[in-house]
């Protein structure tokens, strides 16, 4: 029984994302945009950001990498997240652009957060925007309103609960975001994902 293959870098453009959901979603979006020059790698958790950035230059194939993109969740405070990205980049000896969506250094580094670098939230906020008003979306609203009354305040996790509730009621319940994107239960062509498309265009041109 062998271990799974570990990552070496093979492309000039490297895109770091947080976890499996973002990875699966981006795989489908890159396919849709016919972008084949970007290698995706997931951090397996935001807590690994600083450590993974420090390991990048030691990883086989890093000398091929010309551009590094970071696409991470804003979570509750986009400014704090950006500060954390910049500190982690500097600590790893990589370039740390002062502003999101701008390049600096060699290899060139660019970053942004979702839903945008000015708004709190995460990828699920964009997915929620893309699905509002469609199919059973209204039922999900009603369900979450009801559960909020009955149970706890889901507050900042609202969009995550919303998306997972939506997927649980789909024709293929139990799919994760990446799988749901592949199954076309999430429409990557929707304009809600424009901020990500803009970022990918920046990274690849």
């Amino acid at each position: 029984m062998g271990r799974k293959n570990l990552t070496t870098f093979k492309c000039e453009q490297l895109l770091l994302v947080e976890g499996q959901d973002e990875f699966g979603f981006l795989v489908r979006l890159l396919e849709f945009l016919k972008i084949e020059t970007v290698q995706l790698h997931m951090l397996n958790g935001i807590d690994n950001l600083a450590g993974v950035l420090r390991l990048l230059p030691k990883t086989p194939g890093f000398d091929k990498v010309k551009r590094i993109g970071l696409l991470l969740d804003s979570d509750s405070d986009p400014a704090a997240r950006i500060q954390s990205i910049r500190a982690s980049l500097s600590h790893a000896g990589l370039a740390s652009p002062a502003m999101p969506l701008t390049f600096s250094g060699t290899p060139s580094v660019v970053y942004t957060t979702v839903p945008s670098h000015e708004l709190p939230g995460c990828l699920e906020d964009l997915i929620m925007q893309s699905a509002v008003g469609t199919g059973i979306a209204n039922c999900v609203d009603t369900f979450l309103s009801c559960s909020a009354v009955q149970r706890t305040d889901i507050g900042s996790r609202y969009s995550k609960s919303w998306v997972h509730s939506l997927l649980s009621a789909s024709e293929k319940p139990g799919l994760k975001i990446g799988e749901a994107t592949t199954a076309k239960l999430i429409n990557v062509e929707h304009e809600a994902f424009e901020p990500i498309r803009v970022f990918l265009a920046l990274l690849t041109t």
């Binding site: 271990r3 570990l6 993974v52 390991l55």
Partner: protein, 364 residues
């Protein structure tokens, strides 16, 4: 214990520098990055004043030709040790290690071919005074080893002389402060070494360590003993009736490999054991227990283990064994990568290895 080591112009290693070496150091890298050459370089360096180890390094690669025919032009048998087969330049090894007084000491070993002409004639005249040169044969090929250190800034010189009659080292090499052994991927120790080393273990009451190292591969193993049955060999008691013991040599390659490695570590107290492809012959399921034994033996004998591997399972198992130790800083990994003019070395601490596995990043 080596803490740093650098090589210049040795085999494919035009230049390579390793730092922060740990008591257990794994060396990884793709094929032909110089992992084995690095171990060979360390063996020659650890031998200090013994240029004959240059030929030992070659024999480990299956290059055994040492005869020189003075009637024909021939390359010196150590030529392949020099980068690009160019022995007009010097091979240099610099190692920093803790000596027997536990002081850090930098030792430089340089190898060069003594050129025909003035240098060789001068050496011949010198050696003739000490009856070390038979003028009827003439000096044919000479390898010079220069040894210098912080303690002895004036280099001492030792010559490996090969003529059509014999090979010899002049002046004879001095026994180094710390022992070193090189174990190749398919090394199988002779029964004499095994018996001798096992006896040492028995005297010092270390048999349990060896039995426990072998039990994951043979859970029935209760005890080990040296028996004479035509020749002296190591036998295992696996509980067969009538006190029937099984020769270790019949108990599988993996088991013999582990026994050999543990005994070798025991044979180099306060020294270094250099192991090529350490996981050869080992099934993944015994890898972690194997590494626990290596850590235990290394700790017990204060022996540094520097080993190459291509196996991710081997690295992970070594990391898990390290993380079960009280001192979690004992393991280090150096990944070698061939650059344009040098072989680059990337160090990984246990914390970085942990993270690399969590984040699925390659370390080989």
């Amino acid at each position: 214990m080596y803490t740093s080591f650098s090589v210049e112009r040795f085999r494919g290693l035009t230049k390579c520098a390793l730092s922060d070496l740990r008591p257990i150091t794994l060396i990884t890298g793709t094929n032909n990055t110089g992992k084995t050459a690095l171990l060979e370089a360390m063996l020659i360096h650890a031998g200090r004043s013994n240029p004959q180890l240059a030929l030992v390094a070659n024999s480990l690669r299956g290059i055994a030709r040492i005869n020189v025919d003075p009637s024909h032009h021939s390359d010196p048998p150590w030529l392949s040790l020099f980068s690009n087969f160019d022995d007009s330049k010097t091979v240099k090894f610099v190692g920093e290690a803790f000596n027997k007084f536990k002081h850090s000491e930098v030792v430089t070993v340089a190898l060069s071919t003594v050129r025909e002409g003035v240098e060789l004639a001068g050496l011949g005249a010198n050696l003739q005074q000490f009856n070390q040169w038979d003028t009827s044969v003439g000096l044919t090929k000479v390898l010079k080893l220069e040894l210098s250190s912080g303690r002895r800034p004036k280099a001492s010189r030792h010559f490996l002389i090969i003529d059509s009659k014999q090979q010899r080292v002049v002046p004879p090499p001095v026994v180094p402060d710390a022992p070193a052994r090189f174990i190749s991927a398919h090394n199988r120790e002779g029964s004499e070494f095994i018996a001798q080393q096992f006896s040492e273990f028995e005297i010092k009451d270390h048999i349990k360590l060896l039995v426990e190292a072998l039990q994951p591969m043979e859970p029935r193993l209760k005890d080990l003993r040296i028996l004479f049955n035509g020749e002296t060999a190591l036998y295992g008691d696996i509980g067969l009736p009538n006190r029937k013991f099984i020769p270790l040599s019949l108990m599988g390659d993996g088991l013999n490999r582990v026994a050999s490695l543990v005994l070798n570590i025991g044979s180099c107290p306060n020294g270094v054991v250099l192991i090529d492809d350490i996981d050869t012959g080992l099934h993944y399921s015994v890898m972690e227990s194997f590494w626990r034994s290596i850590f235990a033996a290394g700790r017990l004998f204060n022996t540094q283990v520097i080993a190459t591997t291509h196996s991710g399972e081997c690295v992970k198992a070594a990391l898990d064994a390290n993380n079960a130790e009280d001192d979690r800083t004992r393991l280090g990994l150096v990944r070698l990568e061939r650059g344009i003019n040098e072989v680059k070395a990337f160090n990984y601490s246990p914390e970085e290895l942990d993270l690399a596995f969590k984040a699925d990043l390659e370390v080989r």
